[in-house]
């Protein structure tokens, strides 16, 4: 049965507590094709792929690989059936070398027990040359760039003899140019007869690389399309369930005086290397300055240094004309700076605290929340209830623990808290990561409303579309440096993409 297909998943059902993650999903992937699975965050794509790779077990349904019915008890079974996965969050061991990472679990040995590192390196080099995947076999994973880490992930699957490769959101961490390179590799693999499943929510990429498309929404398959015969609008409709406005309306607004200023800022990362190298920027009242860049180019360190969470090596920061270099988060907050952090689970919330306590984090020492060292609970409850209404947080239960809200509602709590303390300057990092379309729209509108109220806004995002549609000015960051400043209406994705890959504006326009 299903001989012409590399993978068939039939009637897959997977339940998590309170969620039906996959609801009778069918997936048919032909031999030698690139098959895209698209859908919004939370549509159930990753859950589906994790079942194919044996990381999760389906509650119902059947899986066929090359026509043979299989049961995946773990990744080992998947590997045995010729399936390999390039994970969205790379599954690499940081303190081991490239070669060690590739062979881990199926090691080359001398006399069964002793690890044969030389043989491992040889095999990795062979694969790397055959498919044009350049890697440095002796380097430690933690020392190599993201693009190379991804190539290591691909080599890992090939080393295990994978005939079917699953790519889970592979372009999320890449520059447009690196994405092109990845597509080259994928085409080479296709020519070598491999089958690929490409998970994505970026429609232009899907249009470019795939042969067939399966669209998912809320755990169900909503469309099966042939790439050549469809268009982005049709896919988007199947993905979201309605026609989407892909851009928010941005009214013109004249910025006022400079509120925030950074001069020649130098910051080190956790390993003691320079992560931010001489960054200077200005943000005026009523202006949104966007920072674009591939993840890991110093944006996180920049944000942490600005908000007082990381030590500043050199340079000055000014807020409303005052030197605030090296001040702690508390003083910065007292001066009117707030911060929507990129990682809301790690920084933005205390998951074990009820929502009303999360609503005052970072201003809990202010009146009326605190009076002479004692918490003023009635005031805390009242404000929380008001903000729940205003920002439409669901469910409307301020007693619920922070950890029990959905991602979108957690982000609404964080945004409500940071926006409601009347900031003069707000740092907004990755505000919509992992949210559904409705929540994204809401948050974008909130940010634009702050701009109307003459708040100075620094927006950091890896989503190029977000930066383009919200910013008044765009700064592009690469390896800790600003490559150039452009206005969204005077540039395009390609130009910014080249800057994200390390070209300066002068070089790009030269």
């Amino acid at each position: 049965m299903y001989e012409e297909y590399a993978v068939v998943m039939k009637g897959i059902v997977k339940r998590f507590p309170g969620v039906l993650a996959n609801d009778h999903v069918d997936l048919f992937v032909r031999k030698g094709e690139i098959h895209a699975v698209v859908g919004e965050n939370g549509a159930g794509k990753s859950t589906l792929m994790n079942q194919l790779y044996g990381l999760l077990r389906p509650d119902e349904g059947e899986i066929y690989v090359f026509g043979k019915k299989v049961e995946m008890k773990g990744p080992k079974d998947a590997i045995k059936n010729g399936i390999g996965m390039v994970h969205q969050h790379f599954m690499l061991v940081g303190n081991l070398t490239v070669a060690e990472n590739v062979v881990l679990g199926s090691e080359t040995t001398k006399g069964r027990v002793v690890f044969d590192l030389r043989e491992a390196k040889k095999r990795v080099k062979e694969l790397s040359e055959r498919y044009g995947l350049h890697v440095d076999v002796d380097a430690k994973i933690e020392d190599i760039p993201v693009g190379m880490q991804q190539r290591v992930e691909i080599i890992k699957t090939l080393y295990r003899g994978a005939e079917i490769l699953i790519f889970d959101e592979p372009t999320a961490v890449l520059t447009p140019q690196e994405t092109e390179e990845l597509f080259e590799v994928m085409r080479r693999l296709k020519a070598a007869g491999k089958t690929m499943i490409f998970i994505s929510h970026k429609l232009n990429e899907v249009m470019e690389i795939s042969d067939n498309i399966t669209v998912m929404r809320l755990g169900k398959v909503t469309a099966k399309l042939i790439t050549k015969e469809t268009n982005p609008r049709e896919i988007a409709r199947a993905m979201v369930g309605r026609d989407v406005v892909l851009r928010v309306e941005k009214p013109p607004h004249e910025p006022k005086d400079v509120v925030f200023e950074v001069e020649n800022l130098w910051v080190k990362d956790n390993r003691g290397l320079d992560a931010v190298r001489g960054v200077s920027l200005k943000v005026r009242a009523g202006e949104i300055v966007g920072i674009a860049g591939v993840a890991g180019n110093g944006q996180s360190e920049l944000v942490e240094a600005i908000t007082g969470l990381r030590k500043i090596e050199k340079g000055t920061i000014k807020l409303l004309g005052q030197d605030i270099t090296g001040l702690d988060p508390r003083s910065l907050r007292n001066m009117g700076m707030t911060h929507i952090p990129e990682d809301r689970l790690k920084y933005g919330m205390v998951l074990q605290y009820p929502a009303y306590y999360n609503m005052i984090l970072g201003k809990h020492w202010w009146e009326p929340y605190s009076i002479r060292g004692f918490l003023n609970h009635p005031a805390i409850f009242e404000d929380s209830r008001r903000l729940f209404e205003e920002f439409d947080v669901r469910p409307r239960n301020i007693n619920m623990l922070g950890g029990n809200f959905s991602g979108g509602n957690q982000q609404k709590i964080v945004v409500a808290r940071e926006v409601s303390s009347n900031p003069k300057f707000i740092v907004v990092a990755q505000p919509t990561r992992g949210l559904d379309v409705g929540a994204i729209e809401f948050i974008h509108k909130t940010i634009l409303r702050l701009r109307e109220q003459d708040v100075a806004i620094l927006l950091v995002s890896m989503e190029l579309e977000e930066v383009f549609s919200l910013s008044d000015r765009i700064l592009v960051m690469y390896e800790g440096e600003i490559m150039g400043e452009v206005r969204p209406e005077e540039t395009n994705f390609e130009e910014v993409g080249l800057m994200m890959a390390g070209k300066r504006l002068e070089e790009v326009r030269a």
Binding site: T307, H339, K346, Y347, G348, Y353, W365, G373
Partner: protein, 346 residues
């Protein structure tokens, strides 16, 4: 159901521990039912026994609060023992020199001196954790041993008095805690009032104050706390100091209310008992009072058992098992849920 786990897990853990300990007792040829009966009688069988139990409970409430406060703040203060020693030792040095002072002055000065000493001793570990990341479990253990040897030196040389067991002179009468009740030779001092008051203060501090909000936030999620304007290094040092002050107070109460002089055996593992008490009491001040009472009763009762030929080490075993089960609370949860499921099936 989730609401009651805080009570169910420690209760079931204690029961399981008692059952396992019964097998240990059986293994040396004794009757566990009899042994437990002796234990209960020893702890609550007469008014003298009850007073004894309360006297034993008094410092345990404080060490339990010390460790429990640490847990709430995200630090594991395994050094309550050493802080208790330093508290008692310092209070001794102050208390023996206060013959001239009126009681209210002598009492408060001695208590404050002891609490400060405990706080300072613990703050060393807090400071090291904040500055260098040194794990407080290792550093406080080192500090425990240093305190033990230091006190042993102090009562052998600078503070020594008499011959035989090394000991200090008695503290001034004005620095002794007033006696609330006397049954036979057993005296119950005002220490119990101090302990219960400390529990109430801790409750208010944790639940009603801004400091408590910050301490708990730092304990739950240090990253979010730092982001929210709470200095983690300051908080770690302060939390350790508060925890140490409570442990120091335990030493003070034991000194001023029971022994009236420093003896090498004054702490006697009470600091370590604080760990099991905090875990059984789920780090809640009121829970800790009851857990301390349980442990005090076990301690008193086990003395009786000792006469019946069962080593009082059995209490340590029971404590160990309880801590083990609370650490891996999923064992207990699974045990209970499994039973329930089985019942449903039938």
């Amino acid at each position: 159901m989730e609401k009651y786990w805080g009570f169910i897990i420690p209760a079931v853990s204690v029961l399981v521990a008692l059952v396992i300990a019964a097998f240990v007792i059986m293994s040396v040829g004794k009757n566990p039912v009899e042994a437990y009966a002796i234990m209960v009688k020893g702890a609550f069988g007469s008014s003298a026994a009850i007073v004894n139990t309360i006297v034993k409970t008094t410092p345990l409430i404080l060490t339990g609060l010390a460790v429990g406060f640490g847990f709430r703040a995200g630090v594991f203060n395994i050094g309550a023992e050493g802080q208790m020693i330093m508290g008692a030792l310092t209070a001794t040095a102050v208390g023996i020199n206060l013959g001239w002072a009126p009681p209210y002055f002598a009492l408060s000065l001695t208590i404050i001196a002891g609490m400060l000493a405990g706080a300072g001793w613990a703050a060393i570990a807090g400071y090291l954790k904040a500055k260098t990341g040194a794990h407080e479990v290792v550093t406080t253990i080192m500090l425990n041993w240093i305190a033990t040897y230091l006190s042993s030196y102090m009562v052998q040389v600078p503070l020594a008095v008499g011959s035989g067991t090394p000991k200090s002179p008695e503290i001034a009468p004005s620095a002794k805690l007033p006696v609330l009740m006397k049954v036979g030779p057993m005296e119950m001092s005002a220490g119990i009032i101090i302990s219960v008051t400390a529990a109430i203060v801790m409750y208010v501090l944790l639940e009603k104050t801004t400091t408590g909000y910050e301490v708990k936030a730092a304990g739950f999620n240090p990253y979010a706390a730092e982001y929210g304007g709470i200095s983690i290094s300051k908080n770690v040092t302060m939390s350790m100091a508060i925890s140490g002050a409570l442990a120091g107070l335990a030493g003070v109460v034991e000194l001023m209310g029971v022994h009236h002089r420093f003896l090498g055996t004054l702490s006697g593992g009470k600091g370590f008992d604080g760990i099991s008490i905090a875990l059984i009491g789920q780090n809640h001040p009121i829970g800790i009072i009851f857990a301390a009472l349980l442990m005090g009763a076990l301690r008193t009762g086990s003395n009786e058992m000792q006469f019946a030929g069962i080593s009082k080490h059995i209490v340590m075993i029971i404590q160990g098992i309880v801590i083990f089960l609370v650490a891996a609370d999923r064992i207990v949860r699974t045990m209970i849920l499994w039973r329930k499921r089985k019942k449903v099936k039938v």
